[in-house]
């Protein structure tokens, strides 16, 4: 009786369980459908509403629908949860009932009624099935492998090494082509990524490739052509007296490059637009940032772009372009000009002359010596300079030597070439970064010294031998201004670094330092007493040369690129707009004149007889009375 009751309960619980689970499943599926998150309709309606924000009925429809969906969702969720509890309870009831039912049944030992299989045959049968099971496993493994194996690991390893996959499906020939193409792509990519680094390399490699093929024979030919000539032309080497050099304007910033000229009666007032005191004005064919040099009645300039390199000679009296020498076909010269920035250009270094020849250097590393009539005496390439703006250090001569500061990122050195033949007399390697400053050659009392400014060294060399005389680690950055020397003190500076006054003596020592006003491009001038600094952003400052005390500062609206020139106690400084400010070299600021040229000027003026030569943006001017 009791047994039947429990049995009934068990059956009831089972039926109930089935029903609840069915209902719960239905509900569960409904939730999936009515999930408010997945109601695309509401989102669509909202999009429509955004397009017609005034549609009130649409808005109300959204709100209503939202409410409905939400209600349905939560009701369903409640139902599922309740269902789960009911299910669990009914399961528990079912189990309890069944346990009781089963527990009440007194176990009846099942006596051996049928003949049991023999123990051994059971074992045998089991062995067979275990073996079958193993066989099934192995077969499945083989089958699966056969069906799905795709050499993934090898492919990954190849791909990890960046190698292209060999396409198996293609016939052999095609696959080779494919692989080659892909490899070509890969190498292309590899080149393109680090653009600034690799480009020069590419050029170099091109150069290397070409040399043996085309250029070599030419080189030999040229050498043969030039060399027999040069000894004929070579006049007995006459040392030109210092006075002659001083009377002329043989290099950037005058004789020795120290920013001092030795003239009298230079003009003070002029006016470019009206032509006042402008003796002549001539257009310059090709652009360049180099400054004019003067020898007697000849004025020399260079100009270049990425295709042509030219040297110009003007008649100083008339302004007529006397000759133009085209510099090309120099052995070793790169086929493509190196990339330079427009603010440096291909013709930034100023020429120099020793009265016999004129010398010029270009961004390509081409150095050329011409005679006064414009024919090439010798020419050679120093190796393409690796310089991200373009080479800009100017040239100097000392006796029979052409001195070249050649500080570049692939090779930094200072060298002297034979002015007659162009061969290297000495070359001293330097541990410096790229420098855009120019060398300065001064007599420091006991000897001639070639002083160079670069990051990180200010260093001096014996111009005869190239031996380093002294060096000081005190500079940094991308050095533009050249040094200036006065009375045993060398002044070096660079913007974003510092201004250093170096006392020469047994040992070069720092006399004083300052970092308030620093120049980026223009070079300073100095007297025994004063140092004058012009900054590229337009401030002019006077320091005490020995103590570093600042006497005065003067701010101009326009900045300066042009370097200062000192003549007597007058200092000439041209701003970017072309106005030449002439002021007294004294501890009180006194501007004598401000004379406009009417054209932008970035170069340094050259002082001639009672006149000044100025290279402006497009024209060469001679100013004088």
């Amino acid at each position: 009786m009791k047994m039947d009751l429990w049995k009934g309960i068990a059956i009831l619980a089972a039926v109930f369980m089935l029903l609840v689970s069915l209902l719960t499943i239905v509900n569960y599926l409904q939730i999936q459908r009515a999930d408010p998150i997945h109601t695309e309709t509401i989102n669509l309606l909202v999009d429509r509403l955004n397009q017609n924000p005034q549609d009130v009925s649409l808005r109300d429809q959204i709100r209503e629908l939202d409410l409905l969906v939400r209600k349905a969702y939560f009701t369903n969720q409640w139902q599922v949860r309740t269902g789960a509890y009911l299910l669990l309870i009914s399961l528990a009831v079912f189990i309890i009932a069944m346990q009781i039912v089963e527990g009440r049944k007194k176990p009846q030992p099942e006596l051996e009624t049928e003949e049991t299989e023999g123990f051994l045959s059971i074992q045998k049968n089991t062995r067979r099935w275990v073996a079958v099971g193993g066989g099934v496993l192995v077969t499945t493994a083989l089958l699966l492998t056969y069906l799905t194996h795709s050499e993934l690991e090898n492919r990954f390893e190849l791909a990890a090494q960046g190698k292209p996959e060999v396409e198996k499906q293609l016939p052999a020939k095609d696959s080779v082509v494919v692989v080659q193409n892909k490899q070509a792509d890969v190498s292309k990519q590899a080149e393109v990524v680090p653009v600034p680094e690799v480009l020069p390399n590419v050029e170099e490699s091109k150069e290397v490739e070409k040399k043996p093929v085309e250029v070599q024979p030419k080189q030999i030919a040229e050498n043969e052509k030039i060399e027999p000539e040069s000894p004929k032309k070579t006049e007995p080497s006459k040392t030109i007296s210092e006075q002659t050099l001083k009377n002329n304007f043989p290099s950037f910033r005058g004789y020795g490059g120290n920013g001092v000229s030795f003239k009298e009666n230079l003009p003070l007032h002029w006016d470019g637009p009206s032509g006042e005191n402008v003796l002549w004005k001539t257009e310059i064919p090709l652009h360049g940032y180099n400054s004019p040099i003067v020898w007697e009645d000849k004025v020399f300039l260079t100009g270049a772009n990425d295709e042509r390199q030219e040297v110009y000679c003007f008649n100083g009296n008339t302004g007529v372009l006397v000759w133009t020498a085209v510099i090309d076909n120099i052995p070793g010269s790169p086929a493509v000009s190196p990339e330079v920035t427009p603010d440096t250009g291909h013709a930034a270094p100023t020429m120099c002359t020793d009265g016999t020849h004129v010398y010029a250097i270009f961004s390509t590393g081409d150095v050329v010596a011409l005679d006064m009539s414009g024919s090439i005496v010798w020419a050679r390439n120093l190796g393409v300079p690796r310089n991200h703006y373009g080479h800009s250090s100017s040239l100097l001569t000392y006796e029979d030597k052409l001195l070249i500061q050649y500080d570049h990122s692939n090779e930094a050195k200072v060298m002297a070439l034979n002015t007659q033949t162009g061969e290297t007399l000495w070359s001293t390697a330097r541990k410096v970064k790229v420098s855009w400053a120019s060398p300065v050659l001064v007599n420091t009392g006991s000897q001639m010294e070639l002083i160079l400014n670069a990051d990180p060294l200010v260093a001096s060399y014996n111009p005869e031998t190239g031996e380093e005389l002294w060096q000081l680690k005190c500079m940094m950055g991308e050095v533009g201004p050249s040094v200036v020397y006065a009375d045993g003190v060398v002044f070096a500076m660079n913007e974003y670094a510092s201004l250093v006054a170096i006392q020469l003596g047994e040992q070069a020592t720092i006399l004083w330092e300052d970092d308030e006003f620093l120049s980026d491009v223009p070079s300073p001038v100095a007297t025994d007493q004063y140092l004058f600094v012009a900054t590229s952003y337009g401030v002019l400052v006077c320091y005490d040369a020995k103590t570093g005390e600042k006497y005065w500062e003067q701010e101009y609206d326009d900045g300066f690129y042009s370097s200062m020139m000192m003549n007597g106690d007058h200092i000439y400084l041209i701003d970017k707009r072309g106005i030449t400010h002439i002021f007294k070299a004294s501890n009180v600021f006194e501007e004598i004149a401000a004379s406009p040229l009417g054209e932008a000027v970035y170069t340094t003026p050259a002082m001639g007889d009672k006149s000044i030569y100025i290279r402006a943006e497009k024209h060469l001017y001679r100013i004088g009375m």
Binding site: P107, L120, N125, H149, F156, E157
Partner: protein, 428 residues
Amino acid sequence: MSRHVKQRIVSWMALGCLLAVLCSFGMDASAQQRFPKPEFENGHTQPPTFTPAPRADFMEVVDVFVLILSLSVVTWLVLNKRSRKGVFWASIFSIFYFGFYREGCVCSVGSLQNVTLALFHTGYQIPYTVIAFFVIPLIYTLFFGRTFCAAVCPLGAIQDLVALKPYSLKSWVEKTLGLFPVVYLGLAILYAATATDFVICRYDPFIGIYRMEGSFNMLVLGAAFLLAGVFIARPYCRFFCPYGVLLNLASRVSRRHMTITPSTCIQCKLCEHSCPYGAIEKPVPAHTKEKRSGLVNNAIFLSLIIPVLILIGGYAGSLLHESLAKVNPTVRLAEQLLNEVETVDGIIPLEIEAFRSSGQSLESLYAEAAGIIQQFYIGGWILGGIVGLIFGITLARLTIYRYRKDYEPNKGRCLSCTRCMDFCPVEE
């Protein structure tokens, strides 16, 4: 009904005194200002950031304590009291405590994956409690047989409850299916060791029931196991459970295993069909002794081919390594990128998008994937080899037998459920 309340009720029912000190741990007070928020003139105070504390650490220690306690109690019930009723109520307790209250995490079965992962990956920090859950049942089994399975394991307990109409399986079915847990264990270890997945946890059929929620598939799987469990007792324990493999091995050398009869067997055969798990070894009839010589030859032959079976298994496993490795998410991602399947139905899969924004290079991903496949290759050899070895041993063992004159539980397979004891007429 919020989960909170549910948890409380369950914990009351289960432990009474161990009422949750849950969530009483205050707010995270580390809230420091990043950028000053507005100052309110009307004196509004900002509510605290809602950060409910996780279950307190000492509660985990309580879990370990409960585990040891229930293991001891069940062992005592099995070995000393020989009480089926006691074991039954112990399993009810386990269902409520380890099942409904602890919601099946962490269980000993899953802990073997954590231990494997910790062994192979030094970066993975395994909590002490997980180690305890792994080691303690094994130690108990080593000394007292599988009393853990009898009533402590919540997975076993729930199946034991529903084993209402158990029918015994043919020996060959039992043996053949009984080899699957080895494969399962191997797979679980392989996937845990490669930090790919916790397979056991993923296909734990009863966790959905204990949590009373889960994905549809998970619940259906649980229902299927319970349903099958009515007729085939404890199907998960016998034909799936990977931890059971370890317990089986440990139990074979157990010091004090339960016995069917409290003293001497009288060969009444009453217990012969009492075991729903087919774990009672019948006496070996004396006349089989005569055919022994043939069997010895068989045994020698089968022992000799064990190395061959290991090689075959290992080779098959190594062949499968790629299919096995494809479960790994890194390998899947790398494969898809390699095959240039970057969009599926015009949609860029999130994994690929995430990979792209991670900044990792394709090459390093491929290298990583190749490394993982290599791991699977080695793992495949080992896994296959071990499976081959087990098959070989099983086959070899099926040719030898020990002369047995009494009814005895198979020490490996016996789950110590004590059902058979009720059938034994022998009094102590």
